[in-house]
Subunit: 349 residues, 2 copies
């Protein structure tokens, strides 16, 4: 009984913010602790050991995909969105990245602090409902817990999504020659949150990109059946973390042309001012898509016709050489885009 009350000794290993930051430290924690013993349990599918955005199980001739995320974003209302929109879009996007664009639905479990405003809960719920409508999904069931004052900073929302797909996409499917497509400018979510936290009033255009991507992904999949080899949404840890994971799991090298990567002037300026690298910053409405070279034009045409991916760009290609690494061509030279230790901003999603 003493274990959770006695103060830790200096030699004990403690959890740090980096363990939740979507980078190397988190991956290690999951591999060494949370996924232990579950690695070989899924026989006909891909479970925890695959460390994908979700799990996939063979059911008849289809795949049932399940994905979960708890949302702890701070502040809960931010430019361009709020925790409700994020909770719906985040899970819709994780499903979409695996090929599920018409989910069966989501679950929604809310943990709220005593003394939280009922009106704020109403506002969050309306935002969830509107985002559901936008994505054509619904919340199937939920759970509500209340923690005492001071035991939780505001509200935590878990959403779990389930859905079927005939065509399973994984983050490990890249092959040499595949093109890397990015569906729009990077860093908007993280920079908008950071600016809001510091009270900056930089620009009305500095808004989170948080949005459900399932409909635009559906169009991309339909435009080039079988030609999308891998997808991942660059959330915590940003584009650098996502690309590194895709390269590493797929066993390919990825070369990125920095000049081709969409980035708004306002995010570029704000990131410089804050001393942050946009490649490390979270996005909540973007996808990295690996495409077979002969299909990339069709996929691009499908993407740019949707406002959520109007600035989509081909930003790189996969090579057989330098497997597991990501090389950034800056125009002045080439450098290794390393896997970040973690997202630099805590509670980004």
């Amino acid at each position: 009984m003493k274990a959770d009350t006695a103060p830790p000794t200096a030699r004990e290993e403690l959890i740090t913010l980096k363990h939740g930051a979507g980078g190397r430290a988190m991956r290690r924690l999951i591999e060494e602790t949370l996924a232990q013993g579950f690695t070989s349990d899924v026989v006909d599918g891909f479970g925890l050991a695959a460390m994908d955005d979700g799990a996939a199980l063979r059911v008849g001739d289809r795949w049932l995909v399940v994905t979960t995320d708890s949302h702890v974003v701070h502040p809960i209302f931010f430019p361009g969105g709020d925790i409700g929109r994020l909770a719906i879009a985040g899970t819709v996007n994780d499903l979409a990245m695996m090929g599920v664009t018409e989910p069966l639905g989501l679950t929604c479990a809310v943990v709220v602090e005593e003394g939280f405003r009922r009106s704020d809960l109403d506002r969050i719920q309306r935002s969830m409902r509107e985002t559901c409508r936008e994505a054509g999904v619904t919340v199937l069931t939920g759970d509500t817990k209340v923690m005492g004052r001071g035991e939780l900073d505001g509200v935590v929302i878990n959403t779990t999504g389930v859905g079927f797909t005939d065509y399973l996409v994984r983050d490990a499917g890249l092959e040499p020659g595949d093109r890397i497509v990015l569906t729009g400018p990077i860093g908007d979510h993280g920079i908008a949150l950071m600016a809001a936290r510091r009270g900056f009033d930089l620009d009305a255009d500095l808004r989170s990109d948080v949005a459900p991507l399932n409909l635009v992904i559906r169009a991309a999949l339909a435009a080039a059946p079988g030609a999308i080899s891998a997808m991942k949404d660059p959330t915590r840890g940003g584009v650098a973390s996502a690309l590194h994971e895709m390269a590493s799991k797929s066993g390919v090298g990825i070369g990125i042309e920095e000049a081709a990567v969409p980035l708004t002037t306002v995010v570029r300026s704000a990131a410089e001012m804050l001393g942050l690298d946009p490649f490390h910053i979270a996005n909540e409405g973007k996808a990295i898509i690996g495409v077979r070279p002969d299909a990339v034009d069709r996929v691009m045409a499908a993407l740019v016709s949707n406002p959520l991916a109007a600035s989509a760009a081909i930003v790189g290609r996969c090579t057989a050489e330098r497997a597991g690494t990501v090389i950034l061509d800056t125009g002045l030279g080439r450098r290794l885009l390393a896997e970040p230790e973690g997202e630099p901003l805590p509670r980004i999603c």
Copy 2:
């Protein structure tokens, strides 16, 4: 942006601990806020509006059941269990109550406070793994978030379960004449937690009943195919809350013989000392089962042969009269067993 920082005014409605306590206050919050707008979304199944332990969707000729729970129990290690065992058993049991006794699997999303002991996280994970093994289930995928020191009291674990069943059981299926079976003594979980919090050293036998019930429920369902009309696990709000919900949704009256309700001496004494009614206290390894009268002996035989339900008892029956109410026959007279406002103990699960 101000909404979550400005102090609330005296007239604003705030969330209280009762809103998470599993009784009337929580039901109202969900109906009035959280389920709003999702009530009619599920066409071929039972979603949020049904307010069951989970949602059920028709997939081919089977039902896909999805259920979610966030676990905030305090203390995280308690006599008879810990938050890890609770997180697995809680969701396994919610699935079992709807007829899913061989789940496809669970998701597990952990939110942990900065400074939490790595060794405690290891211990919780081991407990989850052991409980999974006991229930024959696995964790398919997960999520990890870290909140800053003082932003979260320890750890919150969400588990969401998915599984198929041919025979869907709901909490609304009771009919007049059905017998009410309780699988064992009541109040163990809540009383054990309360005693642990107050530092009582009442008795080595005062332990939480937290356990996965899917295997014993599978045996009960197999013993009397089609004859189990309703199930519910009496967690937050206790047996009183669960019976009230079953009576109300099924449109029947329920009469309970108090003398028949299993209750250990140690829980009875502790509840008296703490001034608590065992009917209002949470259980985490018990089920209330509605059974057609001609099948009750077969169901009882299946239950008592399993150690988790060795003290199962027939405690009451359903009537067409007094629909929606629960009447307790105390032996000295009859009284209404009202729906509690909520579980008397915060963070019980």
